[in-house]
Amino acid sequence: MASLFKRKALGREASLGVILIFAVAVTGFINPRFVTGDGTRDLLSATAIVALLAIGIAPIMIMRHIDLSIASTVGFSAWLVADTCAKNPSFTWVQCFLVGGSLGIVIGILNGLLVAGLRLPSLVVTLGTLYIVRGGVYVVSNSVDYNAQEMPKSLLKIGSTAFFGLLPVPFFLALVLMAIVAWFLKYTKAGRDCYAIGSNPPAADLVGLKVFRRTFLAYIFSGFIAGIAGVFYLMRFAQVDSTAFYGQELAVVAAAVIGGIGLLGGAGTAVGVVIGALLVQTIQGALAALGVDAFWKAAINGLLLIVAIYADRILASRSEKALLAQRIKERV
């Protein structure tokens, strides 16, 4: 297990991959259906939204901030897109994404101005917008629900298509986004700035990094992705009410933390968070395969989050102790 806790990016991802394969193998042993084509497709479909959102908040969390408003944004976006489609039967899937994405950007701007502009603590700000946005859905939805018949056929078709019967389109899109964000985080100045800002905020100011701009844009990106994820929600469930995706923000944060983004910022990769999302989903699938009641899902999510944060803490204190030991050795 020790290698699991190595801070090196590749090491962390490789060990996560091993754990993932192990978890899939165990689950498959208990319930062979889990490793069939159908089982794989189900797993990937179920993971797509969380994976997408986890990639979306990755830059924010790398900068030592957080965005808890994403699940509410997914709910609002899903409801608003369904509502718009119901009122405009000629809507195509492209317009659905435009509506969802735009709503997300607006919420992202609000978060960004409060956190980056006013320098308010992101945990409190986005906890506030979590309730504001969810409250917004309750008010505008007025308890109206929508079902498959009100949604564009072209949209639902994307949701149910899978390449080779294995790779669902939504998950494939999440993989594309992962590749783009991974490249951005590794090979652009803006991406590297995210790590520097999260690693040592005062030093980032001292070397003249554009802290406001990076933080602000990261919130807009996260909001945009959450808006898009709302459309994914419709693709997967083909129905929506005002409680859609309620309370799922912590599953996303759990996936990101398990995937190697420390809450202290400065570390983590897009590939890691996708593996983290898969792992969370696999463990839940495994528990279902073991016959554990679905009501346990929320409790399991919470447990996973605590385990992940604890692992992260052990990591941090170990490297701190090693550093101190080294210093003492140098002085003597």
């Binding site: 100045k189 590297r192 690693s199 030093a203 003249g208 990094l209 570390a267 490297s319 090693a322 210093r327």
Partner: protein, 501 residues
């Protein structure tokens, strides 16, 4: 590229005030290419303020600064970087999660097309490390790097920005002897490359080993600027100290009684080793030395905030449980910590609540706090210490620094301690209040309390203490009686580790 001997930096009569406090009252400094220039002075002489002005953190109020003939553009760290000034702070400010190559080039990564060219960044960083004579792996993460290696990375960063003036604030404070040697080699290489190196240090032996010029500052002004050949250790120490002992310290003689505190072979591997001393009733013992010499950590270990690895602490001949402030308070130890805002007070709570904090047991009725008693206690100490406030329940945040310090003292004196430990009791308070604090400490000793005082201010140490224990890098260098101690021998012991000069 500058030629050797070119005037790179000239500061003339530079002034800086912070509110009412004058930090620089007229500092001058001229530094040439290919020179290592030491900046010396006691704590509070204004060295850090000067560095921060050049770093673009502060803006000077008066005087002239020119860089290679053109006026210095002040007020932003970025502008200072652009003008070829690099500052290496005492605590390096690296991004610990990032690789060394990335730390060198943060914000200025070399690009190929639209993507960062990591190979190029690593190759360039590697080349810079080689030039500095320290082979570090540019792919390595900065976390876990020793302070010495972190400084090398900072210097490489400075070179990659084409800095020609490199400022170092106490670069050797946290280094071991071999690391100091390596840093000196790097500094000599920089000199050979016709850079100007300005460094602040309290270690005078090192200063004389490496620098070409020495500028001494005192009370915010330049006292002397000399070539190394024109001066010597004793002259420099005299120039640093300068002032005469004033009558600010009304120390009176008290009968000295039985031993109260006995510290034996106390060791905490990270901070101090084999420290042994005693403090008696009515006696004031000072721990002198530089910031970071382990003095505050000793106080913390005695009071039980930190643990210790070896040794023992006895109070009134009885062993004291380690790592338990409650046990320490039970045997009547009081600790007035060095940072009153962070460690000494509850800033938003009232003066009364702060003063009564450690005396609750005497103020409670059967179940509840008796506020009448609390008021009486606060009034008593307000009079004893002449603390100035409008209302008892005023948050201490609103009090001046001096009155805050008196409040912390009142809190602990109210517990009627046998041993009073005061850590930097007069830091950041004005001269008048200083004298009052000294009078109070003297009075406490007169009442038969044992007093252990930690202070970085020499006049305070010399004026107040019956005995002085000089610390350097976690070790006891020497112990001087009131009679033996002079400014010169205390400074010499604290900075060079030698017992006499």
């Amino acid at each position: 590229m500058a030629n050797k001997g070119d005037l790179l930096l000239e500061m003339k009569d530079v002034k800086k005030r912070f509110g009412g406090a004058v930090a620089l009252r007229g500092t001058s400094l001229s530094v040439r290419a290919g020179e290592i220039h030491a900046l010396l002075g006691e704590n509070g002489a204004g060295k850090s303020t000067m560095l921060k002005i050049l770093a673009g953190v502060h803006v000077h109020d008066g005087g002239e600064i020119t860089l290679g003939g053109s006026a210095f553009i002040s007020g932003s760290p970025q502008a200072s970087i652009d003008q070829g000034i690099a500052v290496i702070y005492q605590e390096p400010s690296l991004f610990l999660d990032l690789s060394l190559a990335e730390n060198v080039f943060v914000g200025r990564q070399p690009k190929k097309g639209i993507a960062i060219d990591w190979k190029e960044a690593e190759a360039q960083a590697s080349k810079l490390f080689k030039e500095l004579g320290v082979e570090l792996d540019p792919k390595r993460q900065a976390r876990g790097l020793s302070i010495a290696d972190q400084q090398v990375v900072e210097i490489a960063k400075a070179l990659s920005m084409n800095a020609n003036i490199i400022l170092m604030d106490e670069p050797t404070a946290a280094l071991s002897a071999s690391e100091v040697e390596r840093l000196m080699t790097v500094m000599r290489n920089l000199r050979a490359a016709n850079k100007a190196v300005i460094f602040v240090s309290h270690r005078l032996d090192e200063v004389f080993a490496i620098s070409d010029h020495i500028t001494v500052m005192r009370d915010g002004a330049t006292v002397s600027e000399k070539k190394i050949a024109q001066t010597d250790l004793q002259t420099v120490i005299k120039e640093m100290v300068g002032r005469e002992l004033t009558e600010l310290f009304p120390k009176t003689d008290h009968p000295i009684g039985d031993v109260v505190l006995e510290v034996e072979n106390l060791t905490n591997a990270a901070y101090f080793r084999n420290v042994s001393f005693t403090v008696r009733k009515g006696e004031i013992v000072a721990l002198a030395g530089l910031v970071g010499s382990g003095r505050s950590e000793i106080a913390r270990s005695i009071f039980g905030i930190d643990s210790y690895d070896e040794g023992s602490v006895k109070i009134n001949h009885k062993p004291l449980k380690k790592n338990s402030p409650i046990a320490a308070m039970d045997v009547k130890i009081a600790l007035v910590p060095e940072d009153r805002r962070q460690q000494g007070l509850f800033m938003v709570a009232g003066v009364n609540r702060n003063i009564s904090m450690e005396s609750f047991s005497r103020l409670t009725g059967r179940f509840f706090i008796n506020f009448k008693k609390e008021r009486a206690l606060t009034n008593e100490w307000r009079e004893n210490l002449s603390i100035k406030y409008a209302d008892q329940s005023d948050p201490v945040d609103r009090l001046s620094g001096g009155n805050q310090q008196k409040t912390v003292l009142a809190k602990w004196l109210a517990t009627n301690p046998d041993l009073l430990i005061v850590d930097e009791p007069t830091r950041g308070i004005d001269v008048g209040t200083k004298a009052e604090v000294h009078r109070l400490i003297d009075k406490a000793a007169g009442e038969g309390k044992a007093v252990l005082m930690i202070s970085s201010e020499l006049p305070e140490v010399l004026g107040m203490a019956d005995r002085i224990i000089v610390m350097r890098e976690g070790r006891q260098v020497t112990e001087l009686s009131r009679k033996e101690a002079t400014q010169e021998n205390v400074i010499a012991a604290a900075t060079t580790g030698k017992k006499g000069i």
